[in-house]
Amino acid sequence: MKHKIKLEIDTAPIKSILNQNKKQIKLGLSMCAHCALCAESCFLYISNDRDPEYMPAYKFINTIGRLYKKKGKVSKEALEKMGELVFDKCVLCTRCYCPFGIDIPSLITLGRRICRSQGVFREYDK
């Protein structure tokens, strides 16, 4: 599913995106109470038998959240797995609701930006 151009991960652009958006990522991660209310607002979660991987919180915690905690040092395989979460399991409809006001779509967008910076993106002709 994913485009594989670069053989290794180039951490410089990842770190740059993480640093530019540090406050937002940190705030999002610390505010998430794992209440799972966002799940009910995600049509993909509902239409995929409530698979937990479709929960908006799961998607941002396991992509941009993990990248932030690991300071961008992730393997290519890990980044490709993140690519599946942000591209295949989210359509960025921006309808996800967080009672604490976490801007989940923009955090998922950051995950997509990092994936794109490493040549990981969705291919529609495969």
């Binding site: 485009h3 960025l92 923009s106 997509r112 993106f121 529609y124 002709d125």
Partner: protein
Amino acid sequence: MIKAKLKPLDEILGYIEPYEKILILGCGGCVSVCLAGGQKEVRLLQSELASKLDQKKEVKQISGYTVERQCNQQYMKELDEIAQNVDCMLSMACGAGIQLLAERHHKHPVFPAVNTVAIGVDLDVGIYEERCRACGECVLAYTAGICPVTRCAKGLFNGPCGGTSGDRCEVSPDVMCAWHEIYVRLKAQNRLEDILKFQPPMEWKNQVKRTIVQAGYAHRYFKK
């Protein structure tokens, strides 16, 4: 979804001729799905332009970047810094995305790299067919789900015209008459009376910039 097609390379080269630093900007929305302007197509255009310029012995700095959606300001912020270092931008988004980009970066020349063709359906990978022109006056309820604006050569709301010949259109024997198809389907559904319901002419809303506000959101944007 919106369907687009890459412009001829020579046309694109003509746009960027006076500039040195060019940014090709892809969109992760509809144009990615129709394989016209996503990240992959940005890479392809980048290398095709580089090769053409190489043949002409011209040197330009061509970079590529893809945002999630060019039709939404929210996804354009990340571009602000990148745009400062380029002379012009080549957008691979649909017409709406290109215009929003040009509006946000009004000091930069913004050129289209694709032609926005239609709102269409996917026949297979890489092949699409027009189904809607977003006229804003949908009559599909009376036309058995066949759009006369898109499929009739004259875009007639009330048809067929005198040019129909059997099941073919007068413009070409290869073109089916949309109103014949409408007739056949309505007849099969036993509701031929719908073809006789007069549809008033379109108000040519395409001539003005239409704004869509969904029911339930009007109070946010309009004072009572």
